[in-house]
Symmetry: D2
Subunit: 348 residues, 4 copies
Amino acid sequence: MSDVKVKVGILGASGYTGAELVRILAHHEASEITLLTADRRAGRPFGEVFPHLAHIKLPTMISIAEADWSTVDLIFCALPHGTTQEVIAGLPEHVKVVDLSADFRLFDPATYKEWYGAEHAAQDLQKEVVYGLTELHREKIKKARVVANPGCYPTPVQLALTPLLEGKLVHAEDIIIDAKSGVTGAGRSPKEMTLYAEVTEGIHAYGTGGHRHAPEIEQGLAWACGSDVVVNFSPHLMPMSRGILESIYVKMTNGTTAEDIQAALEKRFADEPFVRVLPFGVTPQTRHVRGSNYVLMGVVKDRVPGRVIIVAVEDNLVKGASGQAVQNMNVMLGLPETMGLEIEPLFP
Amino acid sequence: MSDVKVKVGILGASGYTGAELVRILAHHEASEITLLTADRRAGRPFGEVFPHLAHIKLPTMISIAEADWSTVDLIFCALPHGTTQEVIAGLPEHVKVVDLSADFRLFDPATYKEWYGAEHAAQDLQKEVVYGLTELHREKIKKARVVANPGCYPTPVQLALTPLLEGKLVHAEDIIIDAKSGVTGAGRSPKEMTLYAEVTEGIHAYGTGGHRHAPEIEQGLAWACGSDVVVNFSPHLMPMSRGILESIYVKMTNGTTAEDIQAALEKRFADEPFVRVLPFGVTPQTRHVRGSNYVLMGVVKDRVPGRVIIVAVEDNLVKGASGQAVQNMNVMLGLPETMGLEIEPLFP
Amino acid sequence: MSDVKVKVGILGASGYTGAELVRILAHHEASEITLLTADRRAGRPFGEVFPHLAHIKLPTMISIAEADWSTVDLIFCALPHGTTQEVIAGLPEHVKVVDLSADFRLFDPATYKEWYGAEHAAQDLQKEVVYGLTELHREKIKKARVVANPGCYPTPVQLALTPLLEGKLVHAEDIIIDAKSGVTGAGRSPKEMTLYAEVTEGIHAYGTGGHRHAPEIEQGLAWACGSDVVVNFSPHLMPMSRGILESIYVKMTNGTTAEDIQAALEKRFADEPFVRVLPFGVTPQTRHVRGSNYVLMGVVKDRVPGRVIIVAVEDNLVKGASGQAVQNMNVMLGLPETMGLEIEPLFP
Amino acid sequence: MSDVKVKVGILGASGYTGAELVRILAHHEASEITLLTADRRAGRPFGEVFPHLAHIKLPTMISIAEADWSTVDLIFCALPHGTTQEVIAGLPEHVKVVDLSADFRLFDPATYKEWYGAEHAAQDLQKEVVYGLTELHREKIKKARVVANPGCYPTPVQLALTPLLEGKLVHAEDIIIDAKSGVTGAGRSPKEMTLYAEVTEGIHAYGTGGHRHAPEIEQGLAWACGSDVVVNFSPHLMPMSRGILESIYVKMTNGTTAEDIQAALEKRFADEPFVRVLPFGVTPQTRHVRGSNYVLMGVVKDRVPGRVIIVAVEDNLVKGASGQAVQNMNVMLGLPETMGLEIEPLFP
């Protein structure tokens, strides 16, 4: 790592993940932001769209068409799902990519088509993409040119279940994931369902049994256990800007105890800077990771014999999006993995 | 029903369920409030403690010791758990009782002792108590002198699962109830965990695998299926004053389909004024029942074969407490069951 | 008042004020809803757009073009500002109107043009319109065919200051109105500024010194004191679905005391069913009127000699919109003024 | 500044300002925390009381009686008001102090007694205390041993009005400060008024005309204009964990324009790292400073001739408490003033 800073671009900078990337990179000592695009807000200063960061010196936002790719070494792509495949496929080879959209997360084109209703437009490129759940795929990420940053929901559950499925400690065919999410996961585009008056003081399930993050979760868990997995994934929308809590209900294999589950998770994540396994029986709160890149998880005995509950939390905009994206950039560039990410949670 | 109004007392009137009883009874045409007790606030007008109801003419709050029982025909007992058994056991015979505490909800003294850490102090009285989940025990409630009003969490899940267990449509040994609750269930006594800054913008599990409503749920489900039941009951606390949403994950018996589940619930609740089964695949929102006595439920197919999801909501202070208490009073007194309860939900 | 129910229509029924009208009219014993329009949602059942009211039997929503005016005696017009003048001008004479838009609130066409940027399109009709702040203009409303329902912000401040200006107790040239509002005042159309994540956990001023409700307030205060008034009106948007709180800072005339202010307000509103003056020195909370038609106000001494503070609250969707609209309907039709409006506030 | 780190203690570490000090100091490169006291939680690890910071290595909390003052060079005193005077008076001379309580903020013992109802217990010490509004008293703070950290409310208003009063641009006898605050200002001790269900979805005034921060504001403004000042200070409590917004209504002196006000503020704060004056006519949002040490302010023309409105925001736990405390520590120790405080706001 020399004194020359890595030149970084953010495509789709005017959304929440764009703002979050800027917030994190503002204190990332080995990189500098040289390109910001936002098609509908081209020509406007970033600080007008996000006044909380108006004091940071940044390039004016331009349209993607205006981008000069020679000014960047790496881009974060925070464009809407479905619009990203062609953009990335058209980039010059020297540009590394961390893609925060869903466009390259599903590695089976048939599954992609089933869930997104269209043929994948960059199937060749897909073959060289690496799935960017850092703690699970670190070695591959080191060598990747294009990393598909995981979805917000799939991140904690894959972290929690991968060691357990690999160790044959839990059954793959009986996994229930009851997830509760804040609203920033739905983005900044105005929709009736994310208006304040529609969200405050209530909760509801949505996409029950059919959310697009289900196949991504199943893909990851299949990698862990070596065979196909079908899960129950039931997300809920609640009054919270940031945060996801997942209550994961699983059946243990014969002879496994809840204490074994605890031990397996502790062992796996002992040296991970961003994953913390709480003491046995203690469960985490979303507000305890707000604004930070941490995933916390806790293991609790179930009253039903043979079952165990794992509760995991993250900030969907950080470890569930922009934080993990920077973590992946660090790994791709050979920088210290925690650079720029040593941000304390904000509570209360 | 004559023109003479039933004289009603509220013991423990200064808590949230007390306020809610006053709000509902203010428009109950066949009763009048003649007694309010609140030991720590004795001597103070009710409207000082709850200014939103200061315009209603009410008796001044007194201590229980000062109560003249000849002035009431029926009391709602909203005292803290553990303090209620002796109070109710000491009442004259002419006073009917709807008890909102947990003191008479568990009909097996051993179970009571296991969960509350003390011998039940009124075991003889317990034998004549009727469990007040109105839709399920209406005939017994008609003849009861003392009704144990159900807990907030146990109400929706018993409504949803009783028809399914009675009809052998789902397995009793594989029931997962992931519940999300607002904070008024924890009462009005100041505690750190219910402070605004500790609750807003976040969610956490609590009492996972060991909440006191678990045995009440299991008792009700055992009645439905005729044998002992152990459930996974996992409550979560979230930023919401009122409301409970329960995501109930169950395994269907051989040959049963999700559509059968839908049909069974529709049939059972077709004539119930306060229970609505939504169209197949549609799930309810807590905010759509806020302030009202409704329970809404929806049935969704699970991706995991053989499984089905039922989502049910209520306002914990109304159907989960004071509303069901008034519903029970109506049944006990032979009044129209909906009297005073035709209150529309408040949204947004 | 006979047994024949008044037939009522709601134009623009798919917004928050439309839903609120339905909620209130559901228990209004002298009227029935026979017409609902919603141009963009024509053909859809009301209960699909507002599931919390899906149990009420209502006509399907149609477009205004499809409306048969012979089916209604009175309409509530909840259309967007600027679209209402022509609709109302085109109605048959037998139809009474309560207009909840801003289109007929400003009685001086020049002022209308200054603030809305266009000529008023129904200036003849404007001359027969009556301003519907019920407590202040009741006698005129009794005889009106078209009533302009006041804006949400102008209602509490006119109630508080009219008696004081009429009695020459405060100076008209030194009035500061610092208002805090919930978000439903901005309607249900999706906008970035009313998204949950943009509103929760924060507050900001908007339209400072230039909000369109300023001329309406000034018009009302000018009526009270007999000469032109210019006020400082500074609204703020805060995380709250319903509710407006106005902190009104005024300078008393020579010899007037804060106690005189209290006495004047108490006297003026002594017999009003929906306005309550709190004890001297006590200030109200918005949550204590939520869901109800009440305005509460409190008077406090200022530390600055000669000054006094009045704090007033309302629910912007009830007394600030649909509740006052029904109150006006009652007055126009000679019904008891409180009919349908005896709804208790919902707290917590 | 050498490589030897300053040893820092926090008295009263288990409150919100204590947690905030730890969060900030975790990344302060020239200091280390060597002492944490919390009388009621003595013996417990800090991470148990504040799990969001459990990953930071910290000394176990002890009682004040157990403290070894030789282990600290400087203490932050975050004890409750009224308990601090004797503690600080009893410290050895080598210990510098930043006191976050109100105990040393009022420099006139008579004013202290009037507002706190007791004689000041350390009047000699008071004489050497410096008032720690950093931007206004930086030179004195450099030499101070004991700094009284300003109250949350007094900070933005003194920043906004000091240049205007010094420049004779506004009248001192006609100042209205309408403040809106989040709930963490009331601390972490459980009280009914700060429970979630009492705070969410509403707003109310409190301490109108009699809040204890009024004399502190008046003291600071009197310093600015050279004569006694009496202000209207009206705080409101709203649903927000962090943040204060102050709408300041002032009358300009003859010939002064709103643009002059803007220019004066811009000039005064041009080189201040933590104070930003927004473009003329733009007002700030509390959420844009959340978690950061910034004060933002905006100037708006009033419709009332001769008047101007200034809106200022801060995070009450950072610039209004712990952030400014660290800023003062930096000044007292000759460190770069922004050290540890370059934390970006967290939005959304």
